[in-house]
């Protein structure tokens, strides 16, 4: 089984560095930790609930990809538009979605943002700048090009950001959306989260180049590749991309190198992933690495600061779980609501 990743033979642990030019205050450093930890722990709860048959439908995890989601979403500003792909729960949390909303949605309860009409990350609010994806991958690329078009038309200093996986780049919508955005120099940021696998398909079967980012030149737009497991790099790259967009330089295609630590979905044991590849990436876990970073650079004063954040998160999630499980399922009378806008 081919793999695009060469396992590291060195024993040095994966160490995060601060990108040059990125200046963060302590609060921001801790917020980044908070969102990644919340992402991780929230998904752990969802996984447990899935096993208890409380999460309804399929469950897709972003384990190992939290750095990319959180860092990139953190770069956005008010008025920007955001849409997740299936492994960007962390980004939604950064954009203000609350754990109990996520729980309600995943457990198919009436309090979920779609009232039980759709599942997992398929929710959003236009007035909050969050757009719901659909299952057809990359379909949001042209949609977000359209959102970016309006920003350009109205002269708004904003961007539209969404994600695709390595697999979604093979679709018609990806191509047409990128090309359109490039021709019209739209403020669109597309982050390709290259996590090595599209279900069981390795990237070597998805495209014929080792680094997807070379396609940016083929669209005539700026492209950059980055370490998706360094949350600070994700933040920095996205900030700079945002600046380019707001300056009217056209869309930006970013490629995040990362790894999908679980299977395609909860039911998939991903036995097709070579053990060495998995082991390599486990040592590059974004959250573990970031904890080490905070410690090493003494950004946290004591280790109990991290523990306090963790405890706070756990309490929040306890409440969210209890609330969700105690809340009712949607009433069948709501079935016919909202098909049209009457």
């Amino acid at each position: 089984m081919e793999s695009m990743v060469k396992p590291s033979t060195s024993e040095t642990p994966y160490t995060l560095t601060i990108p040059a030019g990125l200046a963060l205050d302590r609060t921001s450093y801790l917020e980044l930790y908070y969102f990644m930890a919340l992402n991780r722990k929230l998904e752990e709860r969802l996984s447990n609930l899935y096993r208890q048959n409380q999460v309804v439908g399929g469950l897709y995890s972003s384990l190992g990809q939290e750095g990319c989601s959180v860092g990139s979403a953190y770069a956005l500003q008010r008025g920007d538009f955001f849409a997740p792909m299936i492994r960007n729960l962390g980004g939604l949390l950064v954009r203000g979605v609350e754990p109990q909303q996520v729980m309600g949605q995943y457990c198919a309860r009436a309090i979920g943002p779609t009232g039980g009409k759709d599942l997992n990350v398929h929710f959003g609010w236009v007035d909050r700048g969050i757009v719901s994806p659909i299952s057809m991958l990359a379909s949001l690329v042209p949609v977000f090009a359209g959102i970016a078009l309006e920003m350009k038309m109205k002269g708004k200093p904003n961007v539209a950001l969404t994600y695709v996986g390595d697999g979604a780049t093979s679709t018609t919508d990806f191509h047409e959306g990128m090309n359109f955005a490039a021709v019209h120099k739209l403020p669109l940021i597309i982050i390709v989260e290259n996590n090595g696998w599209a279900y069981s398909t390795p990237t070597s079967r998805q495209f014929n180049v080792p680094d997807f980012v070379v396609r940016a030149e083929g669209y005539g737009c700026y492209g950059e590749m980055f370490d998706g497991n360094n949350v600070m790099t994700a933040l920095d790259v996205t900030r700079r991309a945002r600046e380019r967009c707001v300056n009217g330089e056209g869309p930006v295609l970013l490629e995040a190198k990362t790894f999908r630590r679980k299977g395609h979905a909860e039911h998939d044991d991903a036995g097709y992933v070579p053990a060495e590849e998995r082991a390599y990436w486990e040592k590059r876990d974004p959250l573990d690495a970031y904890r080490r970073f905070l410690d090493m650079h003494r950004i946290v004063e004591t280790s109990s600061e991290i523990e306090e954040i963790d405890t706070r998160i756990n309490q929040m999630l306890d409440t969210a779980v209890d609330e969700a499980l105690a809340s009712p399922f949607p009433d069948p009378s709501t079935l016919m609501e909202n098909v049209y806008g009457d």
Binding site: G115, G116, L119, S135, S170, T334
Partner: protein
């Protein structure tokens, strides 16, 4: 005879055709190494090799397009859409290329496009659709919806052997719930022929796919009250078996047409129109349709339950019609 699930029946059908005809091959996402998201192609890669079991990028349009090209030069490709909901991504290739080649320039396109359709599995709007209506109005295509393991195997073989493009919609809810003893010899279920699942004199239910089982359950319920229901399983949606449709309508004079695709514009309307036009004098009551309401397929269990026709709804509708 061997006890075989519906999903394995499909696998066996494809497997046997691949064994006897080296023009047959499979392509789709995750069909090789993974054996398919629902394991329909499990084991095929080892047996037939990577040139006949092809793992493609996420490219439904290219999957179908490549199948068209391969068929023009003599092959018999079987495309998998991981969930049939994604067939919409290949709409253009199916409707404008595959369906029209023979008519336009005398080039046959013997492809099969298959995938799991249907709800009842908490799949939500994009993993539960029944797309037959989108293609029903496209001359040049054939559409089949097997309900039994026997038909699943017989129809996939017929589809593969058919000289024209066939859309094969297998219902995911039936995959492992339906088991049947299947003959071990080679058999075909002809495309375009419906099957009587239950005979009765009082009322006909014309349906297909997973709905067949709900119809049969309702029929058992109604029999307790002396209402004998005839259940006609269409099996093929395009072309419709008009002879069988009219025969059952003329026999019972009261007809329910039922499907899991939503009501407005679903194939049921065509069945109703044909009966009304060609068997009007035989009817003793209005032809009634049972189908989900005109909404996307919802996700949460109480919503999905309200959406899908339930046995009790069928029984109630049938009682009312029987009493008309």
């Amino acid at each position: 005879m061997a006890l075989t699930t519906y999903v394995d029946a499909i696998k066996e059908g494809i497997w046997e055709e691949m064994e006897k005809d080296d023009r047959v091959f499979v392509l789709g996402e995750d069909v090789g190494i993974y054996g398919g998201a629902f394991k329909v192609t499990k084991g095929m890669l080892d047996k037939f090799g990577p040139m006949r079991v092809i793992d493609t990028p996420i490219s439904e349009s290219a999957i179908v397009g490549a199948a068209i090209g391969a068929s023009l030069v003599g092959m018999r490709p079987v495309c998998e859409m991981q969930f049939i909901d994604f067939i919409s991504c290949a709409f253009d290739q199916i409707v404008n290329f595959a369906a029209k080649c023979r008519y336009r320039w005398n080039a046959g396109v013997p492809i099969v496009v298959r995938g799991p359709c249907g709800g009842g599995v908490h799949g939500g709007p994009f993993h539960s659709q029944n797309p037959e209506a989108y293609f029903f109005n496209v001359p040049g295509l054939k559409i089949v919806c097997p309900s039994t393991a026997y038909d699943a195997k017989g129809l996939i073989k017929a589809a593969i052997r058919d000289p024209d493009p066939v859309l094969y919609f297998e219902h995911k809810y039936l995959y492992r719930r339906i088991k049947e003893d299947l003959p071990t010899d080679d058999f075909i279920v002809p495309i375009g022929k419906a099957a009587l699942r239950r005979e009765g004199d009082d009322l006909s239910i014309i349906t297909y796919g997973a709905m067949v089982y709900k119809a049969l359950e309702a029929a058992d319920e109604l029999a307790k009250d002396g209402i004998e229901v005839e259940v006609l399983d269409l099996r093929t949606i395009l072309p419709l078996d008009e002879e069988a449709i009219l025969a059952t309508a003329k026999k019972t004079s009261k007809v329910i047409v039922m499907h899991e695709a939503t009501m407005t514009g679903g194939p049921g309307g065509e069945v109703v129109a044909r009966i009304a036009q060609k068997a009007f004098e035989y009817l003793d009551g209005p032809i009634v349709r049972i189908a989900p309401p005109d909404t996307p397929v919802p996700y949460s269990p109480p919503l999905e339950e309200a959406f899908l026709p339930q046995v009790k709804d069928i029984v109630a509708t049938a009682r009312k019609l029987a009493a008309y």
